[in-house]
Subunit: 109 residues, 3 copies
């Protein structure tokens, strides 16, 4: 048994939850903050058999990898009047930090 | 040293806390959600010596094992008028998922 | 790779965060309660290379070790009128409980 501890952005948390359930993996979620991420994030605890670790990592990568996203800011970004003109900017979103830990003993009551 | 990570239903969280304190074990509690449990749950982190792991597992089992509970719903359960008549139903409550992890190094400052 | 799990008082949480960032360590923070601490505490998850574990432990010790602090209660401490006279008392604050766990596999997406 392994315990996968994955820290993901809140933005990707719902998508990851859905994929895990769909593939039959159980996860416990903890609200977390910090890392270099300014936004809130979610820490997933996922108990999984040794030979399924790669499957879980693939789902995490698929749901949460760092990517560029184009967004059009709706809010003025400064004091300059020009800043009120909305124009698309590219921002980096997502990203997951994952620790895989060995489990000595597992129990379910 | 071992770290026991136990995910238990909020319903059983207080009882487990009390038992742990009574038996001299220290626990840190984290609010968590998910698993197949719809309701909120609590993740306990319990640092414990190797030879006390079984004692902690026994306390968790005692406090949190899955069991049938008869409850009488106070709220109507549907649109049908019959549903307003309270009658006892049996629901499954409790259950704990427990990971025991080896601790390389322990420190207390 | 190691995972350092540190439970510290909320009081010391900000100072520890700052030191970790300043020294280039990333941490994820989880709100937690319990232990023998009455007050809220914060659980830090810090992923770190083997040879940096001692550095992280030193930062935790520096930021969070148990210490006496003199405080002057602003609130009456009992029914006795004398209790309204503010006088400095020494209280114990801080303290950290730290588990170092081996990480089988680490990934960042
Ligand atoms: Ni295993
Ligand atoms: Ni040990
Ligand atoms: Ni390692």
């Amino acid at each position: 048994m392994r315990l996968v501890i994955a820290v993901v952005q809140d933005k990707d948390s719902y998508r990851l939850s859905e994929k895990l359930v769909k593939h039959g993996f159980r996860a416990t979620k903890l609200a977390s903050t910090g890392g270099f991420l300014k936004a809130g994030n979610t820490t997933f605890l996922i108990g999984v058999e040794h030979d399924k670790v790669d499957d879980v990592l693939a789902l995490i990568k698929e749901s949460c990898h760092t990517r560029e996203q184009t967004m059009t800011p709706m809010q003025p970004m400064g004091n300059n009047v020009d800043a009120f003109v909305p124009y698309p900017v590219s921002v980096q979103v997502g990203g997951a930090t994952v620790f895989v830990i060995d489990v000595e003993q597992f129990a379910h009551f």
